[in-house]
Amino acid sequence: MAALLETRGLKAFYGSTQVLYGVDLAVAEGGVTALLGANGAGKTTLLRALCAMARREGTVLLDGKPFNPRQAEDAARCGVAHVPDGRGTFLGLTVEQNLRLGAYLRKDRDGVAKDLDRAFSYFPRLEERRQQQAGTLSGGEQQMLAISRALMLRPRLLLLDEPSFGLAPLVVKGIFDILRAINRDEGVSMLMVEQNASLALALADHAYLIETGRVVIGGAAAALRADESIRRVYLGY
């Protein structure tokens, strides 16, 4: 499989504080890559650095071409949708307005209408709450909304920052099933940050474990899953 996204020697900074120290990773075309690591390892920062939300150095290639958005709004224009840390829904707007904003860059009205229905077919709860303010949704519903909003862009690459955060196990399972379906049926590639290593490794084809800004282990997800010592030492399950 060719790489859709590739980073080489990626460094990231907040002001003068360096957080990433040369990360090499790849997301295959149509693949799912999981990014694991302890709190403060730099996972969120990596996603931010990709989207020009943190200063970065090094090489990032999207489809083999340099991917250097000057501002976060340029990332969306390259087909990269980001479900950020904390979900980032527009709390004061309705569910439907949130979804329409996800399609802000698209001009094909019919396609947008179809994708709205598709989002509702994945998450029927959102349809029931279509005219409700996003701020009144439960945490799980907001996560569904955040993912659906990102998909409204029809992205090539979906960046997900801890989609399971703060959600009940059953809700998490539902969301992961849908992510799997989206990946399989629509070929959307994903780079997923997760604390829940077992779930993430079950969905991903590749995985990287980062520690204080460096990749310590990377490879096929199946291999990480199979390696008892890695599981015990790094993944804790």
Binding site: A72, E73, F90, Q97, L101, L105, Q133, G135
Partner: protein, 290 residues
């Protein structure tokens, strides 16, 4: 009774002007959490442009629309060239910038057009066949113009994709960027719109308060009061606050205390309301459930 109705109606007319100013102030506040102290002076300058156009022979309504376009561009330019430079600066710095802008526009108007008071004609007839003694044609016309402006602004934010994008950019700039909205451009458009709305207020006020570089000072104060009363986080509450302040001011002036200290009474009532309900009468804090 007739006198009271007259006071209320002309209060609504002044109130419509306060409503525009309050709306302009709140629009910028919502996007930036900053109160633009120069909003009144921008409106005053726009009114001078209208005056100059009319004096140059442009028919009133032509001048009216040209002034609105000019103000929109001026507002965008001020955001792009000046306010943008202070992105992320401490609040106090930005307040100083706004006050500096106020002084600069005021003296620029004085320099260009002199400080002598000028009369500014109303586009509406001098007399009309109905409502005599209750409301003047200019008062009725102002209310009508402002209601049209409010309806247009409402429709813009409610029904157009650009309006929705501006609301998104104001509410959550980070997420707005992630869906591809050019947040800075939205901010500039917001400044343009606020300046255009302010220009309408200036042009409607000028036949009543006359045209001079300080014409908007009192009006801006009432506009702020209206915004606080109605709720600084709700543009429509703020506009409604404008009408309420206009009526309060007029009725208090006529019946309670006389013209000299009506401002005091009106402000006292507003402070009373704010003590009871600090976020304003029509505040709509987002219902969150986290």
């Amino acid at each position: 009774m007739a006198a009271l109705i007259h006071q209320i109606l002309s209060g609504l007319a002044m109130g419509s002007i306060y409503a525009c100013v309050a709306l302009a102030v709140v629009m910028i506040y919502q996007a930036t959490h900053l109160v633009n102290f120069a909003q009144g002076e921008m409106a005053m300058f726009s009114t001078y442009i209208a005056w100059a156009l009319i004096n140059a022979g442009v028919p009133y309504w032509g001048a009216f629309f040209l002034t609105i376009i000019f103000s929109f561009v001026l507002g965008m330019a001020i955001e792009r060239l000046i306010i943008r430079q202070f992105d992320g600066a401490p609040v106090l710095t930005v307040v100083i910038v706004f006050i500096g802008l106020l002084v600069i526009i005021n003296s620029l108007a004085g320099f260009l057009f002199s400080y002598t008071i000028k009369s500014f004609d109303s586009p509406f007839p001098e007399t009309m066949s109905f409502g005599r003694g209750y409301i003047s044609p200019h008062e009725l016309g102002s209310i009508g113009v402002v209601l049209v402006v409010l309806a247009l602004v409402y429709a813009f934010f409610r029904f157009t994709p650009l309006g929705l994008a501006m609301r998104a950019a104001a509410q959550n700039p980070v997420s707005a960027r992630l869906v591809g909205i050019r947040v800075h451009r939205m901010l500039a458009i917001g400044w343009g719109l606020a300046a255009a709305i302010g220009a309408v207020a200036g042009m409607m006020a000028a036949p009543i308060v006359y045209l001079d570089p300080n014409m908007m000072l009192g009006i801006l104060l009432y506009g702020f009061a209206a915004a606080l009363l109605g709720g600084i986080d709700n543009p429509w509450g703020a506009a409604l606050g404008g009408f309420i302040v206009g009526v309060l001011e007029n009725v208090a002036g006529a019946y309670l205390v006389g013209e000299e200290i009506k401002l005091t009474v009106a402000l006292a009532i507003i402070i009373g309301v704010l003590v009871a309900k600090p976020s304003g009468l029509f505040s709509r804090a987002i219902v969150t459930r986290v």
